[in-house]
Structures are given as structure tokens and as C-alpha cells.
């Protein structure tokens, strides 16, 4: 049937959603049993192009409902309501080692969703589109306020939920890449937590007191419940979270979430000491056949010496560990096993919850954003760029992100909103 004799209707609801909200994508008014390709296109702030696609066949009514119908192939297959987002990957011809990260948390990701005739797998930019719509994906809900923090020498960004408060607080710590990463705290604020993104790797010799100062800034904010503060960390940020919670008298979180973290670190010094210690094991760096860097062995074997790992037996608050079993960057599964053993020995393992995901990698981020198996990495303060192997396979990793995020929010709500004083 000639396409100029019919016009299909493409709709996405909601057309403006939070990054972790599901959407419903529908095609109507096409001929029955007709092959179509659903396509997603995203331009990053750096000008790179990301795309995803799925092959569908319309039903007897001429409809496709992405939430209910299976994709028969493409960058994802099966019934995957959000596949068009989580399976986004750099378009052919892109620079290598790309990772999708939104720097400006106040503006939305803009995704163009389109329908193409037949089952296409490439050359989308050269083909005629049957229909397309724009979809916005926001890290910030309406009314969330973004506040620059510069007091007391602390550099960070505080995101406050709308409303009078007071709200539970979160200190959000990213990994060894450094910088001020705002999108996750913005999203956490959209879920009711006053969240502080902390820039802690600006200087190589950051003191432990820096984190205590930041914690105090958060506690003292008039809209934050000072006794209801948690820590959320990813990668090296998890190491910091564990270290501070056990050894600092000032930082007494009500709960901790450690994503892709390890307790293995030089104890009793500053972060610089930890980095120096890791650097000593450089020779344990491995490379895969694509010359991507595998760093997980640098912390192995798990030490028995308590000066080389955080004594999690001393933890006094609930701890949620999120583990990707295919993590090639850090020995997260081994660390989680050791932490469990230590806590069982110390009698505080009732505080521990471990979420372990087969075939998920290191970068377990908020859901429905693209997975990066290997990407460019530059340690803070260094000029040397590597392609680090993070690990994980697209579909299992994306499922892990969705499940872990939901459970993380439940854990934070339970410990910071619901529990009695």
C-alpha cells in the first residue's frame, strides 16, 4: 500500500517525563500486519548522536503498542516499553569511547521518536520518516530548586524539593572522574530528598574534614532534617561514603547506598593516600583484546589486614550495596562478599542488603539511560585518557538500573522518611 494513501498517528505519553518515568509509545492508523521500525534519536550536549531502534509489525487493527508488543529485532528485542531509551548507542561513525551524561540538569534530554517504513537497521538519516514526535526527559521535576553551595570552602550544588519541607537530606558522591555531577541529585530531589552534589576531587590533597564540612552544610540548611541524612555513592564515591561513615564522628548518616563500591582502601589517611596506594598496583592493570583497560585487579586480592579495608563491622546504619557481577572496573562482587563476611562476624549483618545483578557492569545509573560498556575515562587531576572497560551487557545492565533505582528509592524512603526518630 502506498504510504501517501494513509497517515499514521504516533503518540507518546507523557511527552514530558522525568528520566525515571515510564512512557507509553503507540502507533495507530497504519495498515494491519505492516512492518514498521520505531527509532529514537538523541543529540548529546557534546554534539554526538545516539540512536536506538526496534522492529515491529502492526496488529490486525493497524496498531503498535510498544509497552505490549514485542520488538522482533534492533537494538533491543522482546516486549520492552523503555527499550528505545535504554538501548540508545552512539550512531555509526561516532568517536569511540562515548558515555552519555547530562551536564546541565536543569534542561531536559530531547529525544526524537520516529516511525520508519519496513524493518530498517541503518541509514536512518537518509530515509524518509513516516511520523515523529519530540519527547522531553527531565532530571528535575517542576519546582525543584537548584542552589550553588560555596560556603565554608565546600563546592557543591544543592537540589531542594518543592514544598515547605523540611526534607531528609542526601550527600551524593560520584566517582574518580571528579567534577560536579548533578543529574542524580536533581532526580533524587524530584523524589523528595534535599540532595547535595559534592565536588571533592578539585584538589589532589582533599582533606577528610572537607566531607565533614559538606555534611554540616547540609545538616544546617533550614529545610533539611538534620537527623535524617543519608549518603549515596558510586564507585570511588562509595569508598568515601564507607570511610566517612565508619571513621568520622561528624558524619553519622541514617543510611548509606553504595553503588559499585568497595571497602578496600588504605585506612587512616586522606584520599591522596588511597590513590597512592592504588597506584602502587599499576602493574595489575589488564587489557582486553580491544585494548580497553581493566582495573578490577588493582584492589585484589581482598586484604585480610584491617589497615587496608574499612571496618564495616563498625557500621551502625543500614547499608545497601548495588553490585554488577560483570564489573570490570572494580572488584565489587568480591568486596560485597567480604563486607558480608565482616558484618556477619561483627554481628551487624542485619543492616546489610546486597542487590547483585548478573551481567551488569560498573556504571549503574538511574534507569532508561544508555549503557556504556567501555568509555573514555580521565582520572581527576590527570591528563591521561583511557578507554576503561566498565562491563555489563546492554539488556541485563538496563534491567539492573531499573530495578536498583526503584529499590534504592524504597530504601531511602524507608530509612529517611518512614522510620521513627
Amino acid at each position: 500500500m502506498e504510504t501517501n494513501l494513509w497517515r499514521l498517528l504516533l503518540s507518546v505519553q507523557p511527552s514530558r517525563g522525568l528520566v525515571d518515568e515510564k512512557f507509553s509509545v503507540r502507533v495507530q492508523n497504519a495498515p494491519p500486519a505492516h512492518p514498521l521500525t520505531m527509532h529514537a534519536l538523541l543529540h548529546s550536549e557534546d554534539g554526538d548522536t545516539w540512536e536506538a531502534f526496534g522492529h515491529y509489525v502492526t496488529d490486525s487493527g493497524g496498531d503498535v503498542n510498544v509497552s505490549e508488543d514485542p520488538s522482533l529485532g534492533g537494538t533491543y528485542d522482546g516486549v520492552e516499553p523503555m527499550g528505545l531509551l535504554w538501548s540508545l548507542r552512539p550512531a555509526p561513525g561516532s568517536r569511540p569511547g562515548l558515555r552519555f551524561r547530562k551536564r546541565d540538569a536543569q534542561t531536559p534530554m530531547q529525544v526524537r521518536l520516529s516511525v520508519y517504513q519496513g524493518h530498517q537497521s541503518e541509514g536512518f538519516m537518509d530515509r524518509a520518516v513516516l511520523a515523529s514526535v519530540m519527547v522531553e526527559r527531565w532530571y528535575m521535576a517542576p519546582g525543584v530548586r537548584r542552589v550553588n553551595i560555596t560556603e565554608g570552602g565546600v563546592t557543591g550544588t544543592l537540589f531542594l524539593p518543592p514544598g515547605p519541607g523540611p526534607f531528609p537530606g542526601l550527600m551524593d558522591l560520584w566517582g574518580g572522574g571528579g567534577g560536579l555531577v548533578e543529574y542524580r541529585p536533581a532526580l533524587l530531589a524530584s523524589h523528595g530528598f534535599a540532595s547535595l552534589a559534592l565536588d571533592y576531587l578539585k584538589q589532589a590533597d582533599v582533606k577528610n574534614e572537607y566531607f565533614e564540612d559538606a555534611y554540616r552544610v547540609l545538616q544546617q540548611h533550614p529545610q533539611v532534617c538534620k537527623n535524617r541524612i543519608g549518603l549515596v555513592g558510586l564507585s570511588f564515591g562509595s569508598s568515601v561514603a564507607l570511610k566517612m561513615s565508619v571513621y568520622s564522628n561528624v558524619i553519622q548518616p541514617r543510611c548509606i547506598v553504595c553503588v559499585s563500591g568497595s571497602h578496600i582502601q588504605h585506612v587512616g589517611g586522606t584520599l591522596a593516600d588511597i590513590f597512592a596506594d592504588i597506584a602502587k598496583n599499576q602493574k595489575k592493570t589488564r587489557y582486553n583484546e580491544e585494548n580497553q583497560v581493566i582495573w578490577r585487579d588493582l584492589l585484589l586480592p581482598v586484604p585480610t589486614d584491617l589497615s587496608k579495608k574499612v571496618d564495616v563491622g563498625r557500621l551502625q546504619c543500614p547499608l545497601l550495596l548495588v553490585v554488577g557481577e560483570d564489573d570490570q572496573n572494580w572488584p565489587v562482587p568480591e568486596s560485597a562478599d567480604d563486607m558480608r563476611e565482616m558484618m556477619e562476624g561483627a554481628g551487624n549483618s542485619h543492616l546489610l542488603t546486597v542487590l547483585s545483578y548478573p551481567r551488569a557492569g560498573h556504571l549503574i545509573e538511574p534507569p532508561y539511560s544508555p549503557h556504556c560498556r567501555a568509555g573514555t575515562f580521565m582520572a581527576a587531576g590527570s591528563r591521561k585518557k583511557f578507554i576503561a572497560l566498565w562491563g555489563g551487557e546492554v539488556a541485563p545492565h538496563s534491567r539492573a538500573q531499573e530495578d536498583a533505582w526503584r529499590k534504592t528509592l524504597d530504601f531511602l524512603r524507608e530509612n529517611l522518611y518512614c522510620s521513627a526518630d
Binding site: R16, G17, T107, R112, G163, G165, P222
Partner: protein, 470 residues
Amino acid sequence: MSWRSCFYFLRAAHKTLYTLQEQLGLLGRSGIRPSSTMAQTVTPILSVLPTRGLVDEKFKVALENLPPRFPVTLHSLHQSEDKDYWEAFGYYVSDDRGRVTVSEDASLGGTYKGVEPMGLLWSMHPVPGSRTGLRLRKMDVQSPMVVLISAYKGHAFEGFREQPPLASALTERWYMAPGVQRIDIREGGVIGTIFIPPGPGPFPGVLDMWGGGGGLVEYRSALLASHGFVSLALDYLSPKVAVADDQSLVYFEKAFNIIQQHPQVIKDRVGICGLCLGASVTLNVAAYSESVSPRCCVCISGSHVLPAAKSLSYVINDGYKHMDKLLVDEQNRMVWRHAILPITTNPDEKLDMGRIKCPLLLVNGDDDQSKATVESAEDIAKMMRAAGNEHLLTTLNYHDAGHLIEPPYTPHFRASNFIIQHLQQKVLVLWGGKTKPHADAQEDSWQKILSFLREHLYPCPSSSIPQAKL
């Protein structure tokens, strides 16, 4: 319209909202901790999903982490572009798990009752102490309506500003979907705004006309474009346009052609939608134009009782001439419905509906106090039956709905201020309708209008002949 200017609008909207929260004392300033009986212990969590929706999308409002069986009031607050405040509220009691789910639980009182997922929007009314005769209309469609939803302790019906809420959330309601383009039209004397859906097209088109209040009202067109129709909101009554004394339909035909000739419009799939006087114009064009043929027409709260060969200004003035039939009720509100009653039997005083050649959808409220639309619809059916084209007609009559049947989930007002253009006189007009039935009518009719337009304007693969009825 660039994305940059879009974000400026959004920031401005957030600024308004920030100001709104400040004015309501909802923000703690340094050193001043907002007081709350819940203080540092349990705080409820209020969520509205989606956080940003189209005006006709439903949302889910939920409250968690309350004590069990706890009375709360859910409250909505909006500040209009005219700076008036509108509010709605419903009384709830949390379940055993400390939750309130608005889409499933019944409101026990307030501005709406029962299980009403969207009650916090459609039952809004001006806050006590407001100016009278207000009507809520969004004139800037490129920014959203921002609504503050809050939860208060207990069942309150006033004094919302004096006590701090337990929790608040903000939601945005948009007339324009992302990617919809807005273009000013100033072409060949035609004044209007065209809205184009995202995507390559081509799309069907709709000429969209409002009523005798005049001006350029864009929101319905913006929403139609968000549903895949190229829509032209037409200004046909302001002095700039000077069409009022034009006896022919040329202005409307020109506007129709502008849509047809747009490179992204399917030429033979352009319809017309009108409300009130706009509906009368729609019928006039559909019946008498020799150069344009709409593929289908939607007439909301309209009538065919107007002399065909006369100009618009004649028609309008003529209406006001029947002063003996224009009532003023005990609250000084103009009741205009009797002006055309009884429906004339003189064929020169009404449009010949036997000349209609396309599917026609009439949407009316039987409590319309401004125009005798139900009686007109009956007469239209009679005329079409006699002429043999009744198969083209579909009529939707909504019990206890009034005159202003608008897109859903926007507030109902039984009367409001109205300026009689050519007299420059401000009066209070009774539109009619009871809030809940009127809100239901808006929700139902909008879905049916969209289905009707899709059916007749979107070429569908199963047949190339449009079906006449819904």
C-alpha cells in the same frame, strides 16, 4: 520558535511558581524554620505523575507516609495570567497503610466529591475575596499552567494560606506538546496563529474559531496540533481585521486556503471547528462557500439561526436588538438564550442546513443559558432530514452542561464578564452548566471531537471514503 526562547518561558514560569511559593510562605528562609506539627519526625510524600502533562492528560496524585486513618485536605492552587488565584480542594482520609490515592479514593467533600482523579483541576474556582466574573483562559500557550498541589492536615475549607502544608508538589499543564511549532500568520489581511505538529507530515488541517468575545485565542489550536492537526486559530472580530462588515465569506475562505496551501497540509483533509459565533461561521462556510469545502465540521454550542446573506456585524447587532427577549436574572447576569426562540420557521432567517455536504458534529449543553443550542440542533436535524443529508449529522447533548464546552480538566464558570465588542460594554453573562456535569461533558466531548477529526481527516488504510458518523 527556538528551544532557547522555550526555556526562557519555562524559567519565567518557574520564577512565577517560586514567587507563588514565597508568597504563600512555603519556603524556609535562613534562620527561619517553617513550623509543622510533624516537625522532624514523619513527613508525608506527595507525588503527581506525570509531573508535566498536556492539559488533556490525566494525572495521578498520591500521598504516602501519613499516619493511618488520618484526615487530610488535598489542595490545588493556580495563579492565572491575570494574577487571580484559583483553588480546589478535596477531603480524604488515609487508609491503613497511610496512603491517599486520588484516582481511587473518594473525596468526602470540598469543591468536588467522590472518586475524581482530575477534580483538583476541573473544580477550581477563584479564591475567596477575588474579583467577580472571572474566567480562566491561558493566552500564552508557550508556557505551561503551573499548579501547586498541597496536602494539609485535617479537613479545611479556608485559611489555606495561614497554615503551612504537610507537603507540596508542583505540576505543569501544557497546551503545546514538545516540538509543536507556533507561527504568527499575517497574510493577505488574515490574522491568526498556526500550530504545526512535530514530524515531517503532511498532516490534516483544522480552522479553529472562537466566539463573539473576539481576540486571538490559541489554546485549543495548540492542543489540536499536539494531537497531529495543523491548526489555525483565527482572529476574525477585532477592529484590525475589519471583516465584521464584510458580507461575504472571503476572509474565512482565505484563512482556509492558508491552511490548505501550507506545504505540510494534506489539501483535501482540512476541517473547521468553531464555538458559539465561531460555530455559526463554520456552518455558514460549510453551507454557502463556493470555493472551500471542509472535509468535516465541529460546532460547539452553536446555532444555524442567522441570516446567511448578512454580515457578521449585522448578525451580532441583530442579536442584541431583541432586547425584549434578553433577560437579566436576579444576579444581574445576562441570559441570552431566548433571543432566537422560538426557532424561526422563516428560511431566510436561518442557514439552509440542507446544503451541508460534509460530516457535521454538534456538541451542546442542555443548560446553555447563552444560546438555544439544543433547540437549534433539533431544528438542524429536521432540516437535514427533509433535505436527505441527515446521515452526515451527529449530535452530542450533555445534560447540565453549559455554553463554554472547552478542552477537559479546566475550570467551569457558570457566569463571567464579557465585553460586547461593538458597544464596548462590559456585562456579566450567564453561560450555564453545573460544575460536575459540565466537567464530564468537557472530558467526554473532547475525546469524541478528537476521534471525529481523526476519523474524517486522517486518511486511513482500510478505506478511502470517510464515514459519516462516529
